[in-house]
Symmetry: C2
Subunit: 401 residues, 2 copies
Amino acid sequence: MRLSSSSSSTTGFNQVTREGDKKCLNSELWHACAGPLVSLPHVGSRVVYFPQGHSEQVAASTNKEADAHFPNYPSLPPQLICQLHNVTMHADVETDEVCAQMTLQPLSQEDQKDAYLVPAELGTASKQPSNYFCKTLTASDTSTHGGFSVPRRAAEKVFPPLDYAQTPPAQELIARDLHDNEWKFRHIFRGQPKRHLLTTGWSVFVSAKRLVAGDSVLFIWNEKNQLLLGIRRATRPQTVMPSSVLSSDSMHIGLLAAAAHAAATNSRFTIFYNPRASPSEFVIPLVKYIKAVYHTRVSVGMRFRMLFETEESSVRRYMGTITGISDLDPARWPNSYWRSVKVGWDESTAGERQPRVSLWEIEPLTTFPMYPSAFPLRLKRPWPSGLPSFHGLRDDDLSIN
Amino acid sequence: MRLSSSSSSTTGFNQVTREGDKKCLNSELWHACAGPLVSLPHVGSRVVYFPQGHSEQVAASTNKEADAHFPNYPSLPPQLICQLHNVTMHADVETDEVCAQMTLQPLSQEDQKDAYLVPAELGTASKQPSNYFCKTLTASDTSTHGGFSVPRRAAEKVFPPLDYAQTPPAQELIARDLHDNEWKFRHIFRGQPKRHLLTTGWSVFVSAKRLVAGDSVLFIWNEKNQLLLGIRRATRPQTVMPSSVLSSDSMHIGLLAAAAHAAATNSRFTIFYNPRASPSEFVIPLVKYIKAVYHTRVSVGMRFRMLFETEESSVRRYMGTITGISDLDPARWPNSYWRSVKVGWDESTAGERQPRVSLWEIEPLTTFPMYPSAFPLRLKRPWPSGLPSFHGLRDDDLSIN
DNA sequence: GTGTCGGCCGTCTGCCGACAA
DNA sequence: TTGTCGGCAGACGGCCGACAC
């Protein structure tokens, strides 16, 4: 993935706004392309970084698992509490694939203790824009034979109104993509029965973005009365090719060494998060982590729900049962909360869903009130006792609000 | 750069031939695309690896210099003598850009001493194929309006002979690219004056490879009477975009950590060499290194020649004068031979050529016989004495043949 | 010897409503 | 409501020699 323009996050406090040489990606469009489940932590907030999850993303991007022969980084714990200094949204110049660049600074030992005492920094879920639609392209949409058939409700909700006095009603639409490129389309309402179509300009867009049937386009009509245009490619299997800049082994080592060095010196480091390549978010708000790990009771046999994205870019819940709680990789990452929950899924199509999830990804179903709680329910981990409960912090030190 | 097919080197001894799931890239075509100055060390031979040069390649690929805040790797010397276990040629699936993957194993201390005693492993220069031609594409060649105008001598030398009894003489050519894809062209000899043209099939090739005026194509007619077809894109400025898999800092750290770990444990590691992205080769035959460093007398003021590639894929010599000998980066890479020679170039177009080169890249002009020499001339480095002369080896231990 | 052009023909692009799912 | 098709007109692709540098 090669990056073009970039922007700072436009959400959150303590935001670092950078202007000048770099163009700003439209945050709304970025989130729409990333999908409804992707949320970025706020700039200035505290987050938990999982090198293990980062390693999984690199493995997915290089098609190669981390090797067992790697050097050890004893100074690198399985989760690292960090200050999030900067978030920059990017989009691949070739494919429009979105990713986020984050600058993290591991907290010092003293600050880690304080981390549990500060007012909760609530992460807001990525709010999808209201005036938008997303359509999966048909064979006719991508064929050179014709244009793009706009679903009626979508056109009426998202596009500016046509003058229905004209025959046929038509207008020119100008939409901008993630790179702020302008695309012009002729929008016309014709045919028998009547339908909305994009004709002139559509095929140029399809061939420029190399869209094929099965890919999706999304149009947003924002508050500034601008039309935004994004794409989301179908997940085609086996499209990932190894990069030739660095061997995958060196990449894995680099990710670990960079995090370990930053942790040892409390200095900043930079990571890329690829929402549509990574199996899970590996930088999550500290508050979300604490809530899930220390204030939620889970146990084997417990039922839970979890959100997934649908084909139509909306969300639905799948249900399952917790079948176990244990380290995903006891040898390399002991005492890690990353994907520590083994689960079984209710539906038979469960083959597509992970057999292991992290605590903060699921919604346990319980008859008790879950939170806020005056008596926080503590997770009993199945690990041998005597381990430092949380990087040397005693359980009693932990509190929220 | 994303890799597709690959092959083991077809030159050199101790060659590991891998067959089955991986297709073999044609070595002849790979070298033709890489250019006349690129040579790969033999599998099984001993080489010198320069992490500093590797770092330069990564910097060129990520558009970012190595950061000074990196952790130190005291176990990583500026040059590492390695056994070369494997060489695999690759080509980018999107752009056809060539690169080579090498598996290196640092020698143990004992083996390092032996390294200077073994019979010389002479590296052979990359021999360009004899029956080939390379043409830079004109506006007419890449226009949709017509086909490809084949230079007359090239067509007569490289293409199979036409039957000139026909009117006009024509034939179908089938050429294979680096990925072993087949391309068919109609080759015809017509017009007034008569000329060789590729018509039907040419435009498909141009658009598939996304060739533009200024790019080059090369045709090879090999010993097996096969027609091979490669491309070499014009060096367009600012085409390098940062990857989003890993931050450039992490990549730099990864390269250093991987090499340091391999050096400390005498285990294998893997690197990618991108001939057309990297400023210089950073894995060179040990013999070439020893010859240049220990058996060549250079001094400030000395005249030298150095090979460069021309537009037409051939080589020419440029002349210059040595203006200094010193460490390129005394802080991070003290006592490194990497680009230790400061030079001035004779011609005014010297702005394009590096101000620093390595000893083994240049041909010092001297009135003495240079080598072989019964009395090896030793380089007097301007560094403070007392440093280990060569990883703890005494000068007298060194010998060639 | 070869890069670019005008001429010319054929194919494909692309806009239209019909029709059916 | 919308995916695909046949019909049709015009644009562009693509093969040719002319011509000039």
